[in-house]
Amino acid sequence: MITAAPRHLRASYDVVIVGGGPAGLEAAVAARDNGAAHVLVVDRDQEAGGILLQCIHSGFGLHRFGEELTGPEYAQRVVASTLEHDIDVIADAYVLDIDERRRVKLMTTQAGVSLVEARAVVLAMGARERTRAAIRIPGTRPAGIFTAGLAQRLVNLYGLLPGRRAVILGSGDIGLIMARRLTLEGIEVAGVFEIMPYANGLNRNIVQCLHDFDIPLHLSTTVVEIRGQNRVEGVTVAPLDETLQPRLDRAWDIPCDTLLVSIGLIPENELSQQMRLRFDSATRGPVVSSAMECSRDGIFACGNVVHIHDLVDFVSAEAMVAGRSAGQYVAGTLPRPDNVQLQPGANVAYCVPHTISTEREHTVYLRARKPLDACTLQLTEPDGTPVYARKLRYVFPAEMVNLKLRPAILQNFHGSILRVNIVERATEGE
């Protein structure tokens, strides 16, 4: 069983974890394994598990568990391990605030608002979806416009169908998965529209979610107007020119009663912003050290709240680091601070963590700005002096790049700033 209410809440915990998705739950286990005696996980949904509970499709866990699971199956495994570790998990509860002394303002259905002391905190609030307003589609504001994740929740958890004929804006995996999902529920999907010249989702989803059902994918095309007074009656779509401006002369109308907007996720940082943590404008999440520690002492973060992950397996890996560090922080065994700052360079949107130590081994996650075939990932000094290089067969913005950094690699590096670049093979070695 996935829901869990603690026997009774303590007034103080070694580690309080905000968010009971895969990130929060894995962090809890790691914290317990690394010296924290009392760990509390708080989730605002009806049960712990996070976004995975509504991702009923398969494709999770190949790295973590070596087999392909559905979202609920992955969540179930992670929840089970928190229960074995004697961790308090409370669902249907909300963390409202965390003050400078790490007092957690908690709202639960049993006890209302209360303050819980935490020696360390892990932020694992996940992400929210970008909305229509983020791209300012002109037109009316009728019912029938849903973010894809909200539609997923309605369909998969409540059995409520969002419409009869849908247009999907955005070719990320969530949009593609929903195209198939709606089709299988008997809803007609008129097409998927993507503003970029390439699809943002995995090829596997393009094939299995669109091709399998003959759903057209229109690249370099976007929705330029929404019509309908009370309920969506149709949308107008238009191809884009090279400057990404819609060619209205080539626009066409599509009758539909539903528009699903699937244009990306944004780290859910309401709380972190209240706490005035330092932010990275590229990830839109908090700046973190290699211990996944934020700019305030004893506050750690992991998962989608730090940066948007495409694979939950890496969320788990990152969460283990954050949880372990929180445990070590409580035990007073947190290793020495980092001594190198990572700086995103050519074709690199961001790197997480933001700092590393030359003494330890790290996994660095980074995201490319634009797709490249046959390229090189290089680390350089700020003046361009090469430090390390690795060949990559390709990079793709929608697929995170993982870089294992061992102390040996940085043996001869003595600076404090390391630049990370992804360059085409031709320009290599400059």
């Binding site: 398969s58 299988l184 995995l202």
Partner: protein, 133 residues
């Protein structure tokens, strides 16, 4: 999938998009029009692509994931999956059939929800435990 009659007599060429990695190689399969046996695969850059093309051409399989109605559960829907991948052309019909199924909570994870008596090997199971509300 694009189909194009190439050799009027005996071979047919079918295109596939490789799902092995983001490179998304455009694969081409030449197959016998009568036996559907794969004669040649082109366009792949690695072994995975070739294997995929053959599998996809001869016996495409898909895992089914959908939901069924559940009464008295924590949620209104129970996520289910096929225990193993099923032939691709069966997916729609299976999902359509599952729309008419109702179960009652509690349901154990992995519980069998439906077995197709006409099609051996198609078995739909709960992909999570559903506690009663």
């Amino acid at each position: 999938m694009s189909v194009e009659e190439k050799h009027a007599t005996d071979l047919i060429t079918v295109g596939y998009l490789c799902i092995g990695c983001p490179l998304g190689c455009r694969l081409e399969v030449d197959a016998d029009t009568i036996t559907n046996a794969v004669v040649e695969v082109r366009g792949y850059s690695c072994r995975r692509g070739k294997d995929y093309a053959i599998q996809e051409h001869t016996a495409p399989m898909r895992l089914v994931t959908t939901t069924v109605a559940v009464d008295a559960g924590l949620w209104a829907r129970l996520p289910v999956r096929s225990r193993t991948p099923v032939p691709k052309d069966k997916v729609k019909a299976i999902c359509k059939h599952l729309r008419s199924i109702r179960v009652t909570a509690p349901v154990a994870s992995g519980a069998i929800i439906w077995v197709d008596d006409r099609e051996p090997g198609i078995e739909i199971v709960a992909s999570r435990a559903m506690p009663a509300r």
